[in-house]
Amino acid sequence: MRIELTVNARRVECDVEPRLLLSDFLRHTLGLRGTHVGCEHGVCGACTVRLDGAATRSCLMFAVQADRRTVDTVEGLAPGESALTPLQAAFREHHGLQCGFCTPGILMSAAELVESGETPTRDEIRELLSGHLCRCTGYVGIVEAIAQACGLGPEPSA
């Protein structure tokens, strides 16, 4: 089937088989391997991208379903080769990543939260992160990075 969509502000036109997952379309057809594939049944969150702005599991939809839609992946976040978004910079500052496998998915979910303009509590950030498995960091740095990007002050020490 012929599909036409916008990926990271670039127009893309392709022929795809109906059963091709959006995650595999991004990685294999377009070569955007920043979107990682972990569990392929919606649990781990590594493949999360944004579909018309909403954080979405790319392993839980077919590429044909992205026809005439807008998809943003982690590659589209940074404004330039050596520049980072404030969210990405906060991840580096707070050691919010180690091996980096889960990071792209978390960044895409967190970017939706940051852009919403809401001021979440740390508990709400943790609730958001319940949809993302990280086996390295213990999450504390990730929570702090997202908190900073959402404009929260540092966590008061207990």
């Binding site: 109906p18 059963r19 379903q65 949809g131």
Partner: protein, 291 residues
């Protein structure tokens, strides 16, 4: 971990969609959000020959209150209903339950109609619908019909719907003004399948409970309405003793099976404990709302 081959159709009307399903000899499957169906397909637990994508069908995305029900179009995303100001006002049990449905990224795509039609006994939305005594509007080649929640859920992942019928609208009875509601569940991790969950809504007049809706989920093959617990609350204020008595009646009425995450006894006890937590919250919310 890749789905097997299928034909794909994206119809532009509900008539076209049901005609496609009717012509598929039971091998067709409607997809809405796909947050339950696609995992099953990736794991090859489901291998439909035809996928009929409802996302192109117009008119299934309304959220409106008609004075009796909150009518929710089948394609409304769970996240949108969770954040709906109208839903919060007229069926506050919905946002309370929806926070437990998967994760933000799955609720962004998962639909209300899809969750109801999937009929997972551990899913929150079927429990809300059954507890409040709601209904669904269903469309098929033989026309439209309304099915009450009490008749809809037959067993695990099985509803009264024919293979060529589609849920168009889900009707949740308004339980806003005068009512208070609460939802409680225990799951191994936030967003994971519940081991046990309870939903309740109480209408309070003059300090006494005059109507009660109580249900439990993930403890049977369908969401359960707990009639005896409801009846026990009518005509009195909800104090600690009344909550304990109703919770005990609820525990007696459920007969869960044991599993990896808990024995039958543990899950029955969870229903009791969760209701002891939920009932006072619901009562307090009703009192608060009447001020």
């Amino acid at each position: 971990m890749k789905p097997s081959q299928f034909d794909y159709l994206c119809p532009r009307s509900i008539d076209e969609a049901v005609a496609a399903l009717a012509g598929a000899d039971g091998e067709g499957k409607a997809i809405a959000g796909g947050q339950s169906l696609v995992p099953l397909m990736n794991l090859r637990l489901a291998a439909p020959a035809l996928i009929v994508d409802l996302n192109g069908v117009p008119g299934l995305e309304l959220i409106e209150a008609d004075g009796g029900n909150l009518r929710v179009g089948a394609l409304v995303r769970q996240r949108n209903l969770e954040q709906s100001v109208l839903a919060r006002a007229v069926v506050p049990l919905l946002p309370a339950a929806l926070r437990h449905v998967g994760h933000v990224a799955t609720r962004n795509r998962g639909t209300v109609g899809g969750s109801i039609a999937h009929a997972d006994p551990a899913a929150e939305l079927p429990l809300v619908l059954a507890t409040l005594g709601g209904s669904v509007l269903v469309f098929g080649p033989r026309g439209e019909r309304e099915i009450a929640a009490a008749d809809l859920f037959l067993t695990h992942f099985t509803t009264l719907l024919e293979p060529d019928e589609i849920v168009c609208e889900v009707c949740f009875p308004e339980t806003g003004i005068g009512w208070g509601s609460a939802f409680e569940e225990v799951a191994p991790r936030h967003g994971d399948y519940a081991i046990a969950m309870v939903a309740c809504a109480l209408r309070v007049e003059g300090g006494s409970v005059v109507e009660a809706r109580i249900g439990a989920g993930a403890v049977a093959d369908v969401p359960l309405r707990l009639w005896a617990a409801e009846a026990a609350l009518i005509g009195a204020p909800l104090d600690d003793g009344a909550a304990r008595e109703a919770a005990a009646l609820a525990a007696q009425a459920v007969d869960p099976t044991g599993g990896t995450h808990g024995s039958a006894d543990y899950r029955r006890r969870l229903v009791e404990v969760l209701l002891q937590r939920a009932l006072p919250q619901a009562f307090a919310a009703a009192i608060e709302g009447s001020r």
